[in-house]
């Protein structure tokens, strides 16, 4: 029965593809892409290069924003998670308010909000805010100095230094802030899972407060934290695909452009799925390896 259904779908698809004169297969990857990409990291790209190259740029963009997002979300999430365990009512209240509000609003709304905040609320480049020397905030993005060059206003925008586009900034901010709320809850549950007796014993041996945290609580909490943390990292990578909605050229956004230009929808979706499955499996393999290391033997 299943084979029959599959055969029916395949024969329909072949007939439809012929009717629309779409050649199947991955031959299109070598053809000239012909569209520009707003920003790229590490890889050089121009419109004359192939679709394969364009998709590679998209993949690198996805991985870049995900990698930075994972680091920022982990730091922020740990801080908020510990704040929710604080003895200070005010600190605890701020942590709880953060988690409750961020978790109950869709990520897409948050991304639009951050993007609107950056492009509408920040001044133009000529009146850019300069919170630190040579760090400029404007509606064209954030410009940071490097060792080699400092950002300088030239015409309508800054030149030199490192620029972070509003799209990248909004996506990174949105992903980090959103995932941090979930990581905070995982961290909190992990710390709560450490039996009270462990803390009391550590205090009785005369360890300082920071030593209690570093040598007794964290190593034991990590065993509880790592498995759900891995799935949050996976969610962050998958959520980075929402970039398409605010115009950051990630893999999905570039695959979407490719599908619209070539009509090769099946191949495009297959590429997206294959790439994300590979990333998912790699992260879970890495996390399993780490988990095996911290687990009790």
């Amino acid at each position: 029965m299943l084979l029959g259904a599959a055969g029916f779908l395949i024969s329909n698809t072949v007939a439809n593809l012929e009717a629309r004169r779409i050649a199947s297969g991955f031959g299109f990857l070598g053809r000239e892409a012909g569209f520009e990409i707003g920003e790229s990291f590490f890889l050089r790209y121009d419109a004359g290069q192939s679709y394969l190259r364009a998709l590679a740029v998209g993949l690198v963009n996805t991985l870049t924003v995900s990698a930075i997002g994972i680091v920022v979300a982990s730091l922020l999430g740990t801080a908020i998670g510990l704040a929710r365990l604080s003895a200070n009512t005010l600190v605890r209240g701020i942590g709880t308010a953060y988690v409750e509000f961020i978790r109950n609003v869709p990520l897409l709304v948050q991304l639009f909000f951050w993007y609107a905040l950056i492009t509408e609320a920040l001044p133009g480049p000529s009146q850019a805010l300069e919170p630190l020397p040579h760090v400029f905030l404007s509606n064209r993005g954030i410009f940071l100095p490097t060792f080699a060059s400092l950002p300088v206003l030239q015409g309508f925008n800054f030149a030199g230094g490192v620029g972070i586009s509003p799209e990248f900034g909004a996506l990174l901010l949105g992903l980090s802030v959103y995932t941090a709320a979930f990581i905070a809850e995982i961290v909190r549950a992990g710390v709560l899972a450490v039996p009270r007796g462990q803390v009391e014993a550590a205090q009785a041996v005369g360890l300082a407060h920071s030593q209690v945290l570093h040598k007794v609580v964290f190593p034991q909490a990590l065993r509880v934290i790592v498995p759900p943390l891995a799935s949050q990292y996976l969610n962050l990578v998958k959520n980075s695909s929402l970039a398409v909605a605010i115009g950051y050229p990630d893999l999905v956004s570039i695959a979407n452009t490719t599908m619209n230009q070539t009509g090769q929808a099946i191949e495009g979706v297959a590429i997206i799925m294959a790439v994300y499955l590979t990333i998912s499996l790699s992260i879970s393999a890495l996390m399993n390896w780490y988990n095996a290391r911290v687990a009790l033997r």
Binding site: F113, K238, L242, V244, Y276
Partner: protein
């Protein structure tokens, strides 16, 4: 030292909150007047005041908008009714079926007195609520089959369930929505076509089913082996055992996790914006493209956040009630 820290934190909080409240309330413009908004320093809530009907009902014919309004109230009423334990009786299913039929008649029309409205014109809050409700209603039975399939002793069924669940959970929802909007038409025989709304709904159902299946599986695993063995000893068939003994207990255990998945799914319906459906978030975004109102995105998205927050927070408070009384729920299971 501690008191000093609290005071410093309070000052910091005030330094952030006071300008925000000044912007959001005191200096805000509530009149739907873009010129006044641009002159003022505060927030411009006039956008929401002017566009509220578009945000709630999308491009539904203006004179007929009492129909989606009535459908929204009906749907919310059914939701609130289902939240009350006293109404967990067989008649609730009848109420839902009758309610959904009434909503269908209200939205589509085509009966005397109600002109037909094609579903390309549906939009706004009611579309978000309908996508979430019908998505869950269709995904839930599918997820039961997938969860049972994953624990089945038949290798082919087990392998197919595992492959489906892991494949769908491994890819972003956006890729499934793209698949539904560009690939689904290719699968159908010539002459058959399904509209954009249904295609998006299918993608959402397939997506939700995989996640719900894992939650149900968690519930299935929490049931002691003795229950299975006792059912086998009584000579019950597989389906008798599953329907009368296993599933009722597993679902009770899984309620808090199920509600959390519902919340996630409700938030995820906002992604249909990417393939061009006019849900709550899309109508807000579309309202901003009008030149007079462009540049008030911060206010508009804060409003969107508030609407989603009200729904999701209410649901999460509700699910917490079950987490607080796990013992009482497990105590109920033997009946």
């Amino acid at each position: 030292m501690r008191r000093l820290f609290t005071v410093a934190l309070l000052l910091l909080l005030a330094a952030a909150l006071v300008p925000f409240l000044k912007w959001a309330l005191i200096e805000a413009v509530w009149r739907p007047d873009p010129a006044a908004c641009r002159a003022a320093h505060g927030a411009c809530w006039g956008f929401v005041v002017e566009k509220y009907r578009f945000i709630l009902f999308g491009t539904y014919p203006y004179g007929e908008q009492w129909r989606p309004a009535a459908a929204t109230v009906l749907l919310l009423g059914l939701g609130i009714l289902s939240a009350m334990k006293a109404s967990w009786k067989p008649w609730l299913i009848v109420a839902w079926l009758a309610g959904l039929c009434a909503i269908g008649v209200l939205m589509w029309g085509g009966v005397p007195g109600l002109p037909y409205v094609e579903n390309e014109r549906w939009g706004g809050l009611i579309l978000t609520l309908l996508l979430a409700t019908f998505g869950l209603a269709a995904a839930f039975p599918l997820s039961l089959l997938l969860a049972l399939g994953r624990r089945s002793e038949l290798p082919i069924i087990r392998a197919m369930s595992v492959a489906y669940i892991e494949l769908v959970r491994g890819v972003p929802l956006i890729s499934l929505l793209f698949m539904a909007s560009v690939m689904l038409p290719l699968f159908l025989p010539a002459g058959v076509s399904i509209d954009k709304l249904l295609r998006a709904q299918i993608a959402l159902v397939l997506f939700a089913a995989a996640y719900l299946a894992e939650v149900v599986r968690g519930g299935l695993q929490a049931i002691p082996r003795g229950q299975y063995e006792a059912a086998d000893a009584l000579g019950l068939s597989y389906w008798q055992k599953t329907l009368a003994v296993v599933l009722p207990q597993a679902l009770r255990i899984a309620v808090p996790a199920l509600v959390n998945t519902f919340i996630g799914f409700f938030k995820d319906t906002s992604l249909v914006l990417v393939i061009g459906l006019f849900d709550l978030l899309s109508t807000i975004k579309l309202g901003l493209t009008e030149p007079a109102w462009s540049g008030f995105g911060v206010e508009a998205y804060l409003f969107a956040a508030l609407v989603y927050f009200v729904f999701c927070f209410a649901l999460s408070r509700y699910s917490r009630r079950f987490e607080l009384e796990p013992r009482r729920i497990t105590a109920l299971t033997p009946n």
